[in-house]
C-alpha cells in the first residue's frame, strides 16, 4: 500500500493541495484551477485526478462534502484539513529546495566547478 503511494507522482498531490488551498472546489473545478494557476502549462488527465483525491482524503489531508456548484449541479467539494495545510507547507518548501538545487545544478557553468 505504502509502496504504491510512493510509486505515484507526488506532484499531482501537491498541485491538488495547492489548488484547494485557495478555496473549496469540486473535482472539475480543481482541474480548471490547476490549469489557471499554472498558466495552462500543466494539463492533467481528467481520470487521473480522482484516485489522487481519494488518496488525499484517506490520508486525512482533504475533506469532502456534497454541495451545489455554480452551475447549480450537485457536486462533491474538497477543502484542506489542518493536516493538509501543514503538508502543503512542507511539500512546498521541499519542492522549492529541490527546484533551487536542481536549477543550480543545471545552471552551473564549467568555470564554477
Amino acid at each position: 500500500m505504502a509502496d504504491q503511494a510512493q510509486l505515484l507522482p507526488g506532484t499531482l498531490d501537491l498541485l491538488i493541495l495547492r489548488a484547494v488551498s485557495l478555496g473549496p472546489l469540486h473535482g472539475y473545478g480543481i482541474l480548471l484551477r490547476i490549469g489557471q494557476i499554472s498558466g495552462n502549462a500543466l494539463l492533467i488527465e481528467q481520470g487521473a485526478l480522482y484516485p489522487g483525491l481519494f488518496r488525499l482524503v484517506r490520508q486525512g489531508l482533504l475533506k469532502a462534502s456534497w454541495g451545489t456548484s455554480e452551475n447549480n449541479r450537485r457536486a462533491k467539494f474538497y477543502e484542506l484539513t489542518a493536516a493538509g495545510r501543514k503538508r502543503l507547507r512542507v511539500e512546498t518548501d521541499n519542492w522549492n529546495r529541490l527546484a533551487t538545487a536542481i536549477g543550480a545544478a543545471l545552471g552551473a557553468q564549467p568555470e564554477e566547478v
Binding site: 504504491q4 469540486h26 488527465e45 481520470g47 484516485p51 484517506r58 486525512g60
Partner: protein, 885 residues
C-alpha cells in the same frame, strides 16, 4: 492515526462498498456534466457536448477501480487475494492440509475438553449470588466433616461469617403413594437457602425459624431436575405429602433450575431440614459431639472486609474453645477455608486437572512442533516459488504475509474442527452418569469461554508454527535459488526442522510413557490383593429404616434376611457388614482405640485409629478374607458374651509386635469396652486403593447397637443376574416395602477405581494422540528427506549402492532423531510419572514392562512411519530418475 484511518476506510469499504460506488459514480457523472456545460458554452449542442465530455474523460471503469484502491480497498483486497491464493495452495497440496488440520484439531480438542472440565470444576463457582465470597470450611484430614454440635458452636461463636450453613447427604426411599424408589438428597441446616441467598422457583424454602428441635420440620424442597423427572413439572405438587422412609414430609417448594446443590458433581433430588435426619437415618446423629460425620460440610459468606486468613483464625479460636470445653470429644485439627463447591475434593481434583492440563498443553506443543516442521519443509519446497516471486518484485513482507495467511487459515480450520469435536465430547460427558443410581455427574456446559480459549489457542499456535519458516524466507537469495534449482543442499547441520521433530518426539514419548504407566497401574490395581475376594461376590444393600424397622427389630430382620438368602440354591455363604463393606463408598469409619490400661480416654491419648467394620460371623468366609491366626466370630459372640474382636496383620504388627502375640490381648474402645483379640486376618485395602497399609479391626455386629443400614455379602458361583433376581424375590417375600440395591462387588468397585479409570482413560487418550502425532511427524520428515534426495539416492543406486546403504542414507537421520527424542522423552516421562502415583494405584515407572513397552512402542511407531518413505526410496529406478532430471 493513519492506521486508524485506513482501518476505518477498510471497514467503510467493506460494509458500504455499494454506497461508496454510488457516490463515486455520482461524482464522476457530476464531473462530466460540468465539463459538458463548458463545452456547451463554447458552441456544441448538449448531446454533442456530453458525448465529447465522456470521451475526454476516458474509461470510467478503470478510474473507479483506481479510486477504490486509493480509497482504502487495497489492504482488504490484498488480504482477499492472499486468502484466495492460500486456499488454492492448500487445495493443491491436499495431503499436507489434511495432516496439518488433523494434527491441530487433535491438539485443540484435547485442550478444549480438558479446559472445559477444568472450567466446570475449578474455575466456575457455584451458580449462586456472590459466589466469590462463599467459603466452605475444611477441617483436619477428614476435610469438611463435622459433628452437628460442633457446627452449631462454629455458627454461633464465629464473627467472620454472615451466616454459616451446613449440609450432609440423605439417601432415602421416597414414596409418593405410587412407587417407592430411592432418592438422594441433602439434609441441610434451616438457614441453608438464606445463606446461599437464592429464591425458590416455586413455593417457598424452609428457614431457621422452621426448626424447633429434632424432627420438627417435616418439609421437603425438590430440586428442579427431580421435580421435572419425577413429578413431570406438576405445579400442584406443593403441599403434597410424600413419605421419606415411611415418615410424612410436605413438599413446600422447588429450587431454581440452575441450582444443583453445593457440591459440584453431586446434584441432589431434594433438600430436607437436617433436624429431621433421625427420621430418615433411624438413629440420631446430631447430638453426639464426638460423631464427626454428622455434617458433611459447613459454608457461608465471609463478611465484607474479612479476609479468608482472618476467617481461618476465627475458626481456630472457636476450635481452641471447643477443645478446652470438650476435651474428651474434641481435638483441635487444622482449619482452612476453600471455595465452596469442591471443598473436600478440591485438592485432588485440582491436582489431577492441573496434571491433565499440563499433558494437554504438551499435546498442543507437540502438535505445534509437528506443524512447524511441516511448514518449514513446505517452505523449503517452495523456495523456488518464493525466489521467483522475490525476483519479480514482490516484497518480503508480502510473501511472509502470504505464508502467515496460510498458517492462520489452517489454524482456524483445525481449531474449528477441534472445537466441534470437543463440544460433542463435552456434551456427551455431561450426560454421562458414571455410577447408576448415584447422583453423580459433571456439570459441563460448553460456552463462549471454551470457544474463546480454543480459538485463541488455535490462532496462537497458528502464529507459532507460521513463523517457523520466516528466517528461511528472509534469507532467501532469489538469484542463487533460481540458478541452482530446487535440489537444495544436503546439510550436516541440525536444522530447526530436525530440532522441532526431536522435541516433538520427546514430548510424544513422555505422553506414551505416562499412559503406559497409568494403564499398567490400573491393570495391577484390578488384579491386586484387596484382602478380600471380589469375584463371585454379590452385595445387597438395604436400609431397614426405609421400611420402618428400628430397635430390636433390626437385628431380627437382618438374621431373617441372612437365613432366607442362604436357602437360595447355589449360595455358599452370606455375611453381613454394617454400612458398607471395604472399598465401597465411605467404607470403614475410623475407630478410636486406647490401650487397655488407659483410663483417661481423651483424644490425645488415642493409641490408634484403625478402620472399624461391624460384621456377622460368616462375613470373613463370604468376603474371602483369610484368617491368619486365632478364630473368627460365632453366633455365640453376642451381647451376653465377653467383647471380642479381630484385627488385621498391620494392627497386630504395629501395636502388638506380632500376630501370635496379639491373640488374647485386649484393647479399649472410646466407651471403655475392653475387647479381647481372638483372631488376626490378612491385610487389605479399606477406603481407597492408593492408601498405605492401614490398621483395621472387625467387631461382631451382634455385640454392638444394630445399624439399619447394612450390606449382605453373598458368595455364589451363580450367574449374577439370576442370583440378583432370586435375592430380590426372597427379600420381597420377607418385606415387600423394603428397597434393596443389589450388584456385584466388582461393579461396586468401579466407584473406587473411578479416579484411576478416568486417569487411565485420559492418559491413554493422550498417549494415543502422542503416538499419532509422532507418526505424522516422523512420516513427514522421512518422506520429505526421501523426496528431497531422490536424485542423490538414484545416483547412489546407479553406482551400485546396496539396499541397506540406500536406506541408511535416506532414513538414517529420521531414525537418529527418533532414537534421541524417544530416549529424552522416556527419561522425562519417568520423572513425570511420579506425579501419577497419587492417582493411579501402584503406578511405578521403574517397571521393566513399562520401559520395554515404551521402547517397543516408539520403535514400532518409527517403523510404521518410515515404511512408506522407505518403500519409495527402495523403488527408485535410477535410469528413469536420472533421465527425468
Amino acid at each position: 492515526m493513519r492506521l486508524l484511518d485506513s482501518l476505518r476506510f477498510c471497514i467503510v469499504a467493506l460494509f458500504h462498498r455499494s454506497q461508496m460506488n454510488a457516490e463515486m459514480e455520482e461524482e464522476l457523472r457530476s464531473h462530466i456534466q460540468h465539463r459538458a456545460d463548458d463545452l456547451e458554452l463554447s458552441g456544441f449542442s448538449r448531446v454533442e457536448a456530453e458525448r465529447r465530455a465522456r470521451i475526454e474523460f476516458g474509461g470510467s471503469l478503470r478510474v473507479k477501480q483506481d479510486c477504490q484502491e486509493a480509497a482504502g480497498g487495497t489492504l482488504l483486497e490484498s488480504l482477499l487475494q492472499d486468502l484466495r491464493f492460500a486456499l488454492r495452495m492448500l487445495r493443491k497440496s491436499r495431503g499436507f492440509t489434511i495432516v496439518a488440520v488433523v494434527t491441530l484439531a487433535l491438539g485443540i480438542a484435547a485442550n478444549a475438553v480438558v479446559f472445559g472440565v477444568m472450567d466446570a470444576l475449578i474455575l466456575r463457582p457455584l451458580k449462586v449470588p456472590q459466589a466469590d465470597s462463599l467459603y466452605g470450611t475444611e477441617y483436619g484430614v477428614d476435610t469438611g466433616f463435622q459433628s452437628y454440635p460442633n457446627y452449631l458452636d462454629l455458627r454461633d461463636r464465629n464473627g467472620s461469617f454472615e451466616g454459616l450453613a451446613a449440609f450432609t447427604f440423605a439417601f432415602v426411599g421416597l414414596d409418593t403413594g405410587e412407587n417407592p424408589s430411592r432418592a438422594a438428597g441433602y439434609a441441610t441446616s434451616g438457614n441453608y437457602f438464606d445463606v446461599l441467598r437464592i429464591q425458590p422457583y416455586l413455593g417457598r424454602f424452609f428457614h431457621s425459624a422452621d426448626e424447633h428441635g429434632p424432627n420438627s420440620a417435616p418439609y421437603l424442597v425438590l430440586s428442579y431436575a427431580y421435580w421435572h423427572s419425577r413429578f413431570q413439572d406438576d405445579r400442584g405438587v406443593l403441599n403434597r405429602v410424600v413419605r421419606l422412609n415411611k415418615h410424612p414430609f410436605t413438599i413446600i417448594g422447588v429450587a431454581p433450575p440452575e441450582f444443583r446443590g453445593t457440591v459440584l458433581f453431586i446434584s441432589p433430588d431434594f433438600f430436607m431440614p437436617i433436624v429431621n435426619q433421625e427420621q430418615v437415618n433411624g438413629e440420631n446423629l446430631l447430638d453426639a459431639r464426638g460423631n464427626t460425620h454428622g455434617v458433611f460440610e459447613t459454608f457461608g459468606h465471609l463478611k465484607p472486609g474479612v479476609t479468608s486468613a482472618q476467617g481461618v483464625a476465627d475458626l481456630k479460636a472457636v476450635g481452641a474453645f471447643l477443645e478446652k470445653t470438650y476435651p474428651k470429644e474434641f481435638a483441635q485439627k487444622s482449619y482452612s477455608l476453600a471455595r465452596a463447591g469442591l471443598t473436600s475434593f478440591g485438592r485432588a481434583v485440582r491436582a489431577f486437572m492441573t496434571g491433565l492440563m499440563l499433558l494437554a498443553g504438551l499435546i498442543l506443543l507437540a502438535a505445534c512442533a509437528n506443524l512447524g516442521s511441516l511448514f518449514a519443509a513446505r517452505a523449503a519446497d517452495r523456495s523456488r516459488e518464493v525466489a521467483l516471486r522475490l525476483a519479480l518484485g514482490a516484497s518480503r513482507t508480502r510473501i511472509l504475509r502470504q505464508l502467515l495467511t496460510e498458517a492462520v487459515l489452517i489454524s482456524l480450520v483445525g481449531g474449528t474442527v477441534g472445537l466441534l469435536g470437543s463440544i460433542v465430547l463435552l456434551r456427551r460427558m455431561s450426560m454421562w452418569q458414571p455410577f447408576p443410581g448415584a447422583p453423580i455427574h459433571v456439570p459441563l456446559n460448553p460456552d463462549a469461554r471454551i470457544y474463546g480459549v480454543a480459538l485463541a489457542l488455535a490462532l496462537v499456535s497458528g502464529f507459532l508454527f507460521g513463523i517457523v519458516p520466516v528466517r528461511q524466507v528472509l534469507r532467501t537469495d532469489p538469484y542463487q535459488i533460481v540458478k541452482a534449482g530446487s535440489a537444495g543442499r544436503v546439510g550436516r547441520r541440525l536444522t530447526i526442522r530436525e530440532l522441532l521433530l526431536a522435541v516433538q518426539i520427546a514430548i510424544c514419548a513422555v505422553l506414551v510413557t505416562s499412559s503406559m504407566v497409568a494403564v499398567r497401574g490400573l491393570a495391577r490395581s484390578l488384579h491386586g490383593n484387596y484382602g478380600f475376594e471380589t469375584r463371585n461376590a454379590m452385595l445387597t444393600f438395604t436400609n431397614l429404616a426405609m421400611a420402618g424397622y428400628s430397635g430390636d427389630g433390626v437385628a431380627a430382620m437382618q438374621k431373617r434376611m441372612i437365613d432366607a438368602i442362604e436357602t437360595i440354591p447355589g449360595v455358599e455363604r452370606v455375611g453381613l457388614v454394617n454400612n458398607y463393606p471395604p472399598l465401597i463408598y465411605a467404607a470403614g469409619s475410623r475407630v478410636n482405640i486406647f490401650k487397655e490400661e488407659t483410663r483417661d480416654r481423651r483424644p490425645s491419648n488415642i493409641a490408634s485409629t484403625p478402620y472399624g467394620f461391624d460384621v456377622s460371623p460368616e462375613y470373613f468366609d463370604a468376603a474371602g478374607t483369610s484368617l491368619l491366626a486365632g478364630r473368627t466370630f460365632s453366633w455365640h459372640d453376642d451381647k451376653n458374651a465377653p467383647a471380642v474382636g479381630l484385627v488385621n496383620r498391620e494392627f497386630a504388627g504395629k501395636l502388638l509386635r506380632s500376630i501370635h502375640d496379639a491373640i488374647g490381648r485386649y484393647f479399649a474402645l472410646q466407651d471403655g469396652t475392653r475387647v479381647q483379640i481372638v483372631g488376626v486376618v490378612e491385610d487389605g485395602k479399606y477406603l481407597s486403593l492408593t492408601e498405605d497399609q492401614q490398621p483395621a479391626i472387625f467387631l461382631p455386629a451382634l455385640q454392638l447397637p444394630s445399624s439399619q443400614s447394612s450390606c449382605l455379602v453373598v458368595r455364589s458361583h451363580r450367574d449374577p443376574q439370576q442370583l440378583a433376581g432370586a435375592i430380590r424375590s426372597k427379600l420381597r417375600e420377607l418385606d415387600a416395602g423394603l428397597p434393596a440395591d443389589i450388584s456385584t462387588w466388582n461393579t461396586m468397585l468401579d466407584v473406587v477405581l473411578f479416579p484411576a479409570r478416568v486417569a487411565t482413560v485420559s492418559l491413554g487418550v493422550m498417549g494415543v494422540m502422542g503416538a499419532m502425532l509422532s507418526i505424522t511427524g516422523i512420516f513427514g520428515m522421512a518422506a520429505y528427506s526421501v523426496s528431497k534426495r531422490l536424485k542423490e539416492l538414484g545416483i547412489r543406486m546407479a553406482l551400485g549402492a546396496q539396499r541397506k546403504e540406500v536406506l541408511q542414507a535416506a532414513l538414517g537421520r529420521p531414525f537418529k532423531l527418533l532414537a534421541f527424542g524417544s530416549a529424552a522423552g522416556l527419561l522425562l516421562g519417568i520423572l513425570a510419572s511420579r506425579v501419577l502415583a497419587f492417582i493411579v494405584y501402584s503406578a511405578t515407572p521403574r517397571d521393566p514392562l513399562v520401559l520395554t513397552g515404551v521402547v517397543l512402542a516408539m520403535s514400532l511407531l518409527g517403523l510404521l512411519a518410515t515404511w512408506i518413505p522407505a518403500q519409495r526410496a527402495l523403488s527408485i529406478d535410477p535410469w528413469i530418475l536420472l533421465r527425468e532430471e
